[in-house]
């Protein structure tokens, strides 16, 4: 139960962060990707702010053997730069550039009366399903 409450708190802080930084505005995200247009570097600073806090916090957390409420840290130890990783990332970027939505802002925007986001999330799930078929994991 405590884990679920902590996840709710973490999710809420994440949603606040996405809204305050205006990452729930897909046009602002597209303006970051549009380096040949009226470029808006804000997204780079969102990442910088997030990385500064996360890197410091993660480093401290991982000095401990396990998390406060769990038996282990669920972290992948893979290091290979394989084809699924790079092809997947490349396709994700194309979809991101077509829409201005990555998964977090798309999901959060469903609460902002944004019908586009509902279509987006439904199509993301269709994509998950198709990728699972490819891997034989559905």
């Amino acid at each position: 139960m405590t884990k679920i409450i902590l996840a709710l708190i973490a999710g809420t802080i994440f949603g606040l962060g996405l809204a305050i930084s205006q990452m729930v505005n897909p046009n602002k995200v597209l303006a970051f990707l549009d380096i040949a247009g009226d470029w808006d570097p804000s997204l780079a600073l969102v990442m910088a702010g997030a990385l500064a806090v996360a890197a410091t916090g993660f480093r401290w957390a991982r000095r401990h053997e396990k998390p406060v409420l769990g038996s282990r840290f669920h972290i992948t130890l893979k290091t290979a730069l394989d084809r699924p990783l790079l092809a997947g990332a490349a396709l994700f970027g194309v979809g991101w550039g077509m829409t201005g939505f990555c998964p977090g802002p798309a999901f959060a925007s469903m609460a902002l009366g944004n019908r586009e986001a509902i279509v987006m999330v439904a199509c993301i799930y269709a994509g998950f399903w198709a990728a699972g078929l490819l891997n034989g994991k559905n």
Binding site: G11, L16, N25, G37, G70, A106, A111
Partner: protein, 143 residues
């Protein structure tokens, strides 16, 4: 660069980093939204509930902020629906195949100095920039 909002970007980003820290420190989990979304239906039992709670929080947090900033522009009534449909599919397909998105690779993975996440982030940034360039400056789609 007249739309650059450095202060709110850094502040919002710091909150996202704090959220990722809380989820890892307490629950031992990575705040990667694509895998949390996928696991909502793929996982079972308690592994489903914390994901549901996180995703509900994601919507709650955005909705709370909208109460303070009602003028926040988020809606694009005339954006071409085919772009959303095909783009949404590619986001889902690509993030599952590539094991992560902007949060899982771009923030958590890079914070852990994972070479896979650094490579994935450089790749989706490059293909995102190339896609917007193609749409806006070559095909002249007015988006």
């Amino acid at each position: 660069m007249q739309n650059f909002t450095p202060v709110s970007a850094l502040l919002g980003g710091a909150l996202i980093g704090l959220s990722a820290f809380i989820l890892l420190w307490f629950n031992g989990r990575i705040a990667g939204i694509s895998s949390i979304m996928n696991g909502l239906f793929a996982a079972s039992g308690p592994n489903r509930y914390w994901r549901l709670a996180f995703l509900l929080g994601l919507m709650l947090g955005a909705a709370i902020w909208q109460q303070f900033a009602p003028a926040m522009p988020t809606l694009r009534p005339h954006y071409p629906l085919p772009l959303i449909i095909v783009g949404g599919f590619l986001v889902g397909f690509g993030t599952r195949l590539g094991s992560g998105c902007t949060s899982g690779h771009g923030i958590c993975g890079i914070a852990l100095l994972s070479p896979r996440s650094i490579a994935a982030t450089l790749t989706f940034m490059a293909s995102g920039i190339a896609t917007v360039y193609l749409l806006r400056h070559v095909l002249q789609v007015s988006v």
